[in-house]
Structures are given as structure tokens and as C-alpha cells.
């Protein structure tokens, strides 16, 4: 008896070869004069996804978002939304809506009028408009403020109204340009989860631009990490943190200790790297796929290292150094260990015990070790 094909428990249409992407970006580039803001980007975004474009300022993420909205047109390449080529289609005819970083609420209109603006352009009846506006204002819990002007609202309230206004037309895609950047840290944390909940309820595909990796990781199903106009890696938060594709991603997402070296041995489940700087060989628990002698980088996350005072017996993946700085962050402490070569390595230890005495202190001699499976070879 053939089992019915199991529905995937985890939402991951990007792994399903039969899934049709909602947004297809093909070879898109954008240059401003001599400056190449977006460089030959290919990207698929699936229906119902919460996708984030993450990168430092000037990496091209906002330009890419503005090309989806239609405010910029690509110098090269094509964008398809729901199968329709968007080339030459103006912003007011695209099935997307955008939530602006400045919120861009119309100052001379009330909250209700702001939310109704887009519906009015569609020529709906007054009754329909009022119903729909109320519905989205309820969704963001702002119905009580519908007669207020934007300047009579706090930052958090304006953010909600901006969200309601962009959701009112039920676009196929909602674009969010740094939606939480103007909020203070505490409010931002709450709003992140709220936004995810709302996205879940309305089922609209969200594409968000952010420079805040924590925000991207909290909210998104997948993240595209951008650097200098390129997409360096697309993956789930776990993938980009645990298995960064490039040294840029490893360094940009979280903290990474990286050691340069050359491949000495490459097997199916093991790569050995000669690291001149450490005067040691590092073993990594997977194949690098490159020839012996090729330059590579070994990456280890600070929390994946263990610290001990005695030299480890097997000597596998061990470096020796002196504690030079300690950053106590409450839940964890970050130790900066200076190696013999003068180079500093970061180790994070969870402060499990409620104690005033630190396990390690300045100038302690320590050995840092890690399991081969907890490190990664990055090909340069």
C-alpha cells in the first residue's frame, strides 16, 4: 500500500522541486552611474514565506526591494511576480505593497483615511472600504485610534498603522523596509514576534530588508545575506549560522574565529588543514571538496569551543593562549584569548552557576579545544 505523500511538517517549499516560486528574480543588476548597487542577483521567494534581505548599509538590499516595488527599474535582468514579468510595470499597477522605513503616513489624513487610501484607489464601495479598513486596524489593534492624525500617535502606533495600511489591499507580496528600525529596543523585541504572528494569520508573503541579524533570524523563514550587491548566501537562520557558505557570511552573522591554512588531507568525512599561524593541524569533520594544497579557512564559533587549564591528551584541535579580556554579559561571558602568535580568539561560556567568582580570570593560561564536527572549512 502506497502511503500518501506526507505533507512536510516544517514549512520549506524551497526544498520541494514541484513548488512554484511567487517571486523570481533572474540576473538582476542595477547601477547608478558607475556604482553597481545590485550585481546579477538570482533569487526565488515562495508563497507564504517570510524572507529577509540582510546586509550592511550600502550592500544593495534596499535597491533590490525598491526594484520589487517598482520605484527603481533594473539595469539588467527580469523580475517575475506570480509569473508576470514586472519589467515596465509602474508601482501603482503591481500586486505588491510596501511598508516604508519612515512609515510615510500621510500627515494630513486620519489613521482611518490613511488605511482607506489604497482601497479607494481600487474604486471599492464606501461600505466595503470602511469594513476592510476596520478589519486591518483591528488586526494591528489600532481601531481605537482611527480618528487620530499621525502626529498624535507614538512611534509604535505609527508603525502599526503603516503595517495596516500596507496590508489593507491584501497584496501578493508585502515589502518591508527596515520596519522596526525606528522603535526602541524593548518594543522592537515584542513587535518582531507580533509581526511574525500577523504574517502567519494573513498568509501574505513578506520580504523584509534589515541590517539587524538578530531581527532577521528571529523573524524569517529564510535569509539572503547580501554584500556589495551580491547575494552571498540564501538559507534558513540555522543554515547561515551553522553552515555559512563564505567567510563574509561567517563573519557577518554572529562571531566567528577563523584560521587560514592549506588543505593537507581531504577525505570523505574529514579534512585536515595545515595552519601555519597556529603551527598546528586542524581537523574538520567534513570533506572540503578541494585539492590538497588549496588555501582554505577553518571557522569555529565561540560557543562551540571548550576551555580547559590542562593540555588535552589527544591534542586534536587545540590551541593555547592567555586570557586577555573578559566581557561579562550576564547570561554568558566572552573571553578573549591571546594566542602565542599574538592573534585573539573569542570563546563564549554560559554562566551556569550563580557565583561571584569567575571560573577564569585575566592572564590565566588556557587550552581551547573543539570537536571536528563543530568546525567548518570555508573555501576561499
Amino acid at each position: 500500500m502506497a502511503l500518501p505523500s506526507a505533507k512536510p511538517i516544517v514549512f520549506s517549499p524551497w526544498n520541494d522541486p514541484d513548488a512554484t516560486p511567487l517571486i523570481r528574480i533572474r540576473g538582476v543588476s542595477k547601477s547608478f552611474g558607475d556604482f553597481l548597487a545590485v550585481n546579477n542577483v538570482d533569487l526565488d521567494i515562495y508563497p507564504g514565506e517570510f524572507f529577509s534581505l540582510l546586509g550592511a548599509s550600502g550592500c544593495g538590499k534596499t535597491t533590490l526591494l525598491r526594484m520589487l516595488a517598482g520605484f527603481e527599474s533594473p539595469t539588467d535582468g527580469r523580475i517575475f511576480i506570480d509569473g508576470v514579468d514586472m519589467t515596465g510595470i509602474p508601482p501603482y499597477e503591481r500586486p505588491v505593497n510596501m511598508m516604508f522605513q519612515s512609515y510615510a503616513l500621510f500627515p494630513h489624513m486620519t489613521v482611518a483615511q490613511n488605511v482607506a487610501f489604497g482601497l479607494k484607489q481600487d474604486g471599492l464601495s464606501k461600505k466595503k472600504i470602511a469594513e476592510k479598513a476596520k478589519e486591518v486596524l483591528d488586526l494591528v489593534q489600532m481601531s481605537a485610534f482611527s480618528e487620530r492624525k499621525p502626529n498624535q500617535l507614538s512611534g509604535g502606533q505609527r508603525q502599526r498603522v503603516a503595517l495596516a495600511r500596507s496590508l489593507a489591499k491584501e497584496p501578493k507580496v508585502l515589502l518591508l523596509d527596515e520596519p522596526l528600525a525606528a522603535l526602541d529596543k524593548k518594543l522592537r523585541g515584542q513587535t518582531q514576534l507580533e509581526l511574525v504572528n500577523i504574517q502567519d494569520r494573513v498568509g501574505i508573503t513578506f520580504v523584509m530588508v534589515t541590517h539587524d541579524q538578530e531581527e532577521a533570524m528571529t523573524m524569517s523563514a529564510r535569509i539572503g545575506v547580501m554584500n556589495a550587491g551580491f547575494i552571498e548566501q540564501v538559507g534558513t537562520p540555522v543554515e547561515i549560522y551553522e553552515y555559512p557558505a563564505t567567510t563574509f557570511v561567517a563573519d557577518f552573522i554572529g562571531t566567528a574565529n577563523m584560521f587560514d591554512g592549506v588543505v593537507a588531507l581531504d577525505e570523505q568525512n574529514r579534512t585536515v588543514v595545515d595552519c601555519a599561524e597556529l603551527e598546528a593541524q586542524l581537523t574538520v569533520g567534513h570533506s572540503s571538496g578541494v585539492a590538497v594544497g588549496a588555501p582554505v579557512t577553518v571557522m569555529v564559533r565561540p560557543e562551540k569551543m571548550t576551555v580547559q587549564r590542562e593540555a588535552p591528551q589527544d591534542g586534536l584541535n587545540s590551541v593555547h593562549g592567555v586570557v586577555s579580556d573578559i566581557a561579562y554579559l550576564g547570561d554568558i561571558s566572552i573571553y578573549h584569548v591571546r594566542l602565542n602568535s599574538g592573534r585573539k580568539v573569542q570563546v563564549a561560556l554560559t554562566n551556569l552557576r550563580h557565583t561571584s567568582e569567575q571560573r577564569l580570570t585575566w592572564d590565566d593560561e588556557v587550552y581551547l579545544t573543539w570537536h571536528p564536527a563543530n568546525s567548518l572549512v570555508l573555501v576561499q
Binding site: 508601482p91 516604508f100 487610501f117 498624535q152 507614538s154
Partner: protein, 278 residues
């Protein structure tokens, strides 16, 4: 400390006296019963009465008002269009030339503008038979040429300050560019339009130099009538007329000030409300 306060108030008093004493004197002397401007002959309002009977002055005042309103309206319309082009259309052929031509009237000596206008009107009349002599039309055309530059400057700075994402948001929500301009941009820059309108109204109503070139018989503006009367000696009638103008301007400024203050108070109040809820 006390001496310093005294010195400050004295300086303030002297400054105000320098600016306003002549005007105060003019108003006082408009109530002078004597025909001699420099000799006080008791209180009287007869010059105001005579003013109302002076057909020539009334006609001139009416014409000036008409010219000022038409000029302000046309200048605001054209000046706003020019400002939109300068701020929103960043790159087009001849942009530098356009900017220069818009701002040139601001620095052009009035006497040259006036002379050039006169020459233009005369040669046009010879060539096409239009404009037919010097009239309201020629005065308005001449006034618009310099007023519209002022409107452009005022509206341009307001437009440049405006958050462009407001227009983008409206477009994103489905409004076409023309609608965006009418429904979003125009209401937001409306205060600048009003300021530009008032500015060109004022510029037009007290212009002498350019007007003197482009007015003709039967179409004399108020400043020109005053000017020609003063040349024959200052009459108390002129004092009365000047006092009325001062009164009108003062009321206007007062109303404008109260409106602005109220708007500011509203803004502060709503900001406080917002902060409380934050």
C-alpha cells in the same frame, strides 16, 4: 544686573523707534486739521473723508488690488509648476539654463525689467496688434515675470524638505502620479503656496518701478498715484491713505500671526498627547 536690563531695554526702544517712529508720525499727522503737513492744527478726520471722494485714488486702489490678486494667483500656479520641475525632475536637458532663468528676475535691476517689458509690449503691439496699449494685462504680465521667481523659491524649499516616500507610498497604494500630486503633495505643500501667494500679492501691490513702465492712461496703480502726488508736495490726504494701508497690513500680519500661533499650539498639544501614549 539691573543696569544691564535697563541698557537692553533702551537699545530695544531705540531700535523700535528707528523703525516705527516715522510711521507713527505719519498716522498722527493724518489726523491733522491743518493743510500744512508740518504744523499741527488740531484733530480732524476730514482728510479721510476727502479721500473717499477722490475718484482717482479709489480707482487706482481698486486696480492695484485687482492686479495684485490676479498676479498672485497666476504666479503661484506657474511658480509651483517650476518648483516641481526643479525638485522632482532631477535630470533633463537645459536644467541649468532653466534654473538660471527662473532665478534671474530675483537679481535683475527692476528698471531693466521694466524697460525691457515696455520695449517688448510696444514691439508686440506693432507686430501683432496685441497688447492693445498699456492696461491691466500688461501690468499683470510684468508683475508675474518677477513674482513667480519668489514663489518658485518658497515652494522649492518646501518641496525639497518633503519626505519623498510619502509620494512613493501613495503610488505604491495604487494612485497615479497626477493623483498623487493633487491628493498628497499639494495639501502638504499648501502652506508654502499660501506664503508664495501672499508674497507675490505684496510685491505687486507696492511695486512702482516696473509698473511705471507698463502702465498707461486709465490704468494707474495706487503706488504710482501716490508717487505722482507726493512729487507735487505731501498732502494730508496722502497721509490718510498711507495710514489706511498701514492699518490693513497690520491687521493682515496680526491675523497671520494668530493663525500660525494656533497651528503651533495644536502641533505641540498633539505631540504631547503622542508622547503620553508612547
Amino acid at each position: 544686573m539691573k543696569n544691564r536690563a535697563l541698557a537692553l531695554y533702551t537699545a530695544l526702544g531705540l531700535g523700535y523707534a528707528f523703525l516705527y517712529l516715522p510711521i507713527v508720525l505719519l498716522v498722527i499727522y493724518s489726523f491733522n486739521a491743518s493743510r500744512l503737513v508740518t504744523v499741527w492744527g488740531g484733530f480732524s478726520i476730514k482728510w479721510y473723508g476727502e479721500l473717499l471722494n477722490d475718484e482717482k485714488i479709489l480707482d487706482a486702489a481698486w486696480l492695484s488690488l485687482k492686479v495684485a490678486v490676479i498676479n498672485a494667483t497666476i504666479s503661484t500656479f506657474l511658480g509651483t509648476l517650476a518648483a516641481v520641475v526643479l525638485v522632482r525632475f532631477r535630470r533633463f536637458t537645459g536644467r541649468t539654463l532653466f534654473t538660471g532663468m527662473i532665478t534671474a528676475p530675483l537679481v535683475m535691476p527692476e528698471i531693466i525689467t521694466g524697460l525691457a517689458m515696455l520695449l517688448l509690449f510696444v514691439s508686440m503691439e506693432l507686430a501683432f496688434g496685441w497688447p492693445d496699449g498699456r492696461s491691466v494685462t500688461t501690468i499683470v504680465i510684468a508683475h508675474v515675470t518677477f513674482s513667480l521667481s519668489f514663489v518658485t523659491v518658497v515652494v522649492q524649499s518646501r518641496l525639497a524638505q518633503m519626505d519623498i516616500s510619502l509620494e512613493e507610498a501613495a503610488m505604491d497604494l495604487g494612485a497615479r502620479p497626477v493623483k498623487v500630486f493633487l491628493v498628497i503633495t499639494l495639501p502638504i505643500i499648501a502652506p508654502a503656496l499660501l506664503a508664495g501667494w501672499l508674497l507675490s500679492f505684496t510685491l505687486s501691490i507696492d511695486d512702482v518701478v516696473i509698473s511705471s513702465f507698463v502702465t498707461g492712461p486709465g490704468s494707474t496703480t495706487l503706488p504710482i498715484v501716490i508717487f505722482s502726488k507726493v512729487r507735487l508736495g505731501v498732502s494730508p490726504e496722502i497721509n490718510a491713505l498711507a495710514s489706511i494701508v498701514v492699518a490693513i497690513v497690520s491687521v493682515g500680519i496680526l491675523v497671520f500671526g494668530i493663525l500660525m500661533q494656533r497651528q503651533e499650539a495644536d502641533r505641540l498639544r498633539s505631540e504631547r498627547t503622542a508622547a503620553d501614549q508612547g
